[in-house]
């Protein structure tokens, strides 16, 4: 009987949690000093034709105060193309792209972030981290995703945040606080859906190893598999500058 009461008491705070607390807890559990992985991408067009790409991703820091470099390793013609993302806690990220074929770096302007990233279904904005402080949240219900019970939360960007999306619905799993699905809207029309699957515990952090982004307007999707994933790897701050993008080729 006592056990039941203790169990009920443990559940009460969860029920009482508001949407922001859930998102913050989800981000807290996903925090690491750094992350590195090799991404294997399959872009499946509306005609079901599959194109394969791969990139290496290195990140320093976590939500709101992190820097990341994504560098293509295949196909051969885009090998070396790199994107630097500098995330800020109080505003939208800064992004620069390095194209070795022309030897130039280019800042990706905020208004251009809705463009697809090198033929994938991820837009430039989708590659930045969503810090909890930049959104207003509302718990809109509970729903299962792939059999896992989830909280359904609505996120709207605050004024300081420039976003192509006017609304995002996030499904966060109740068992491990990993976001299972995002659905992004522009003016109440769903435009992109990100499904996070194959959730595994990697060095104590529950992580989705397969991300599937669907462009609902184009009817194409990109499947990103995170291979050789490691957390808390040694990386240097000076690897995350525009100069480093150029230097690393």
């Amino acid at each position: 009987m006592n056990k039941v009461i203790i169990g009920l008491l443990a559940i009460v705070p969860l029920i009482a949690q508001d949407a922001r607390q859930i998102v913050e807890e989800s981000q807290r559990r996903g925090r690491a000093n750094s992350q590195r992985y090799e991404g294997v991408l399959e872009v499946v067009g509306a005609d079901s034709k599959v194109t394969k790409k791969s990139w290496q991703s290195v990140r320093l820091g976590s939500y709101g105060n992190s820097k990341a470099v994504i560098r293509f390793t295949a196909p051969a013609e885009v090998k070396g193309v790199a994107l630097l993302v500098v995330n800020h806690p109080d505003r939208s990220s800064d992004q620069w792209m390095w194209t070795p074929a022309i030897g130039r770096d280019r800042r990706i302007a905020l208004q251009d972030r809705s463009t697809r990233f090198f033929g994938t279904d991820f837009s430039f904005e989708d590659l930045e981290e969503r810090d909890a402080q930049q959104y207003e949240y509302k718990l809109s219900g509970e729903e299962a995703v792939a059999g896992a019970p989830c909280w359904r939360i609505e996120a709207r960007p605050r004024e300081s945040k420039t976003s192509q999306y006017t609304l995002s619905r996030i499904w966060i799993r109740k068992d491990n606080y990993v976001p299972a699905q995002y659905e992004n809207f522009i003016k109440d029309q769903p435009v992109r859906r990100l499904e996070q699957k194959d959730i595994q515990n990697v060095q104590g952090i529950w992580t989705a190893r397969t991300l599937e982004m669907t462009d609902l307007r184009r009817k194409s999707r990109t499947i990103l598999r995170l291979e050789k994933l490691e957390y808390n790897v040694p990386v240097k701050e000076d690897e995350f500058t525009v100069q480093a993008l150029r230097r690393e080729q």
Binding site: A46, G103, L110, D112, G119, V242, Q243
Partner: protein, 400 residues
């Protein structure tokens, strides 16, 4: 045990080594014969290989180009392997061979490398360490230079110093081919060029702010585009032409600022020279940039103001493209297919260049590109003089 060690060493080596390259064949098809060049088709092949090796604070880059063509644009002799000053393209040339040392905020790169300055796309007046191969004036490629480059700074503020011991000139059109338009009825003989012996030096400060980026730059050296000395040779009944590269000093700046739905980019430079034949002038570019959906667009105006006109004869596509409206648009059809359009229209309407290109990738390695370029205008105009050079292009590239 030793096998295991060898495997570990091989794995470490592989992690630090990266490489890329391509083999590309291109066909140019000209419907009209030019006055000094009746060829309607030119084929070329280029093999490029680049390798990079990384140690803790050191990085090494090496790259080589091997090329040939059907129109004697590439020399049949093995010269110009390092110092790229030959009239024709060298059949074998070192594109990269440099070492880069990094420690904290300091990066030093020395050797053969590509250096790009400026932010504009339609014309880059401050891009002084970037000579180009202008054997085809409207389809040029950047040439590497031999230089030492020191970069010091943080993400927000960077100072860059460049020292190049010797000028690498831009490659100008071959006199017996369609991109060199010579006066009718005057035999021309080209003398050995007069290359300057001195070094070049440049400095650039770049600031990256929350919203805007801007730079100031300075260059002291030589123009990589030539002026011509022309002497009548009465005994041979011809004109002797010699290229020379005047001293040049440049004060420049560039900026990129998001304004509403577009990014506004500007770049300007003032050029002056101690050479009494070289003009003093200002080149400037103002362009807007926007990406939306599957479209990308860059459009702007390139202007020129001559502050001292010495009326010398030279070859300068950089100035030739000035006083024009320039635009580029790209459309991504899907992950493998894209379209590109670009145009240059002289403000007085005397010259126009327009190009459309379709590109498609096949599998992981192949890409085919087909395009057509239209050139029209007044023969006295820089663009108009190439009015017989409208062409179709077909390129097949295997990347690895």
């Amino acid at each position: 045990m030793s096998v295991l060690l060898l495997l570990c060493a091989a794995a470490a080596y592989a992690q630090n080594l990266s490489q890329r390259g391509f083999l590309e064949t291109t066909g140019f098809f000209f419907p009209q014969a030019a006055s000094d060049d009746s060829a309607h088709a030119v084929g070329s092949a280029l093999f490029r290989y680049e390798a990079f090796y990384k140690l803790t604070n050191l990085r090494f880059a090496a790259g080589i180009d091997a090329r040939t063509d059907t129109h004697q644009q590439t020399s049949r002799e093995l010269d110009g392997l390092w110092w790229d000053r030959t009239r024709q393209r060298p059949p074998l040339s070192i594109r990269r061979f440099s070492a880069t040392y990094t420690r904290g905020r300091l990066t030093v790169e020395a050797g053969k490398q590509l250096i790009r300055w400026g932010k504009a796309d339609v014309l880059t007046p401050t891009d002084r360490f970037a000579p180009r191969d202008f054997l085809n004036v409207v389809d040029s490629e950047f040439l590497p230079i031999t230089a030492a480059r020191i970069n010091y700074g943080t993400q927000a503020n960077t100072v860059e110093l460049v020292f190049s011991p010797r000028l690498t000139p831009s490659r100008v059109p071959l006199l017996n081919q369609r991109w060199a338009v010579l006066p009718a009825g005057v035999p021309v003989h080209e003398l050995e060029p007069d290359f300057p012996g001195g070094p070049q030096f440049g400095a650039r400060w770049n600031h990256i702010g929350g919203a805007a980026e801007y730079s100031l730059s300075f260059y002291n050296g030589y123009d990589h585009l030539p002026l011509f000395r022309i002497e009548p040779n009465y005994s041979q009944l011809r004109a002797d032409v010699q290229r020379y590269y005047p001293q040049m000093r440049m004060y420049g700046g560039d900026a990129a600022v998001p304004v509403g739905p577009v990014t506004l980019k500007g770049e300007a430079a003032y050029f002056t020279s101690t050479n009494p034949q070289a003009d003093d002038y200002v080149l400037w570019v103002l362009q807007v940039e926007r990406q939306a959906g599957e479209w990308s667009f860059v459009g702007g105006y390139a202007g020129q103001a001559i502050t001292a006109n010495r009326h010398s004869l030279g070859f300068s596509p950089v100035r030739g493209f000035a006083e024009s409206i320039v635009a580029h648009a790209g459309y991504t059809i899907d992950v493998n297919r894209s379209l590109a359009f670009e145009t240059v229209v002289r403000q007085n309407g005397d010259g126009v260049y327009a190009k459309a290109e379709y590109s498609q990738a096949f599998g992981a390695h192949w890409r085919a590109t087909a395009g057509a370029a239209l050139l029209r205008g007044d023969p006295k105009d820089f663009l108009g003089q190439y009015r017989l050079n409208s062409h179709a292009i077909l390129t097949l590239r295997y990347s690895f």
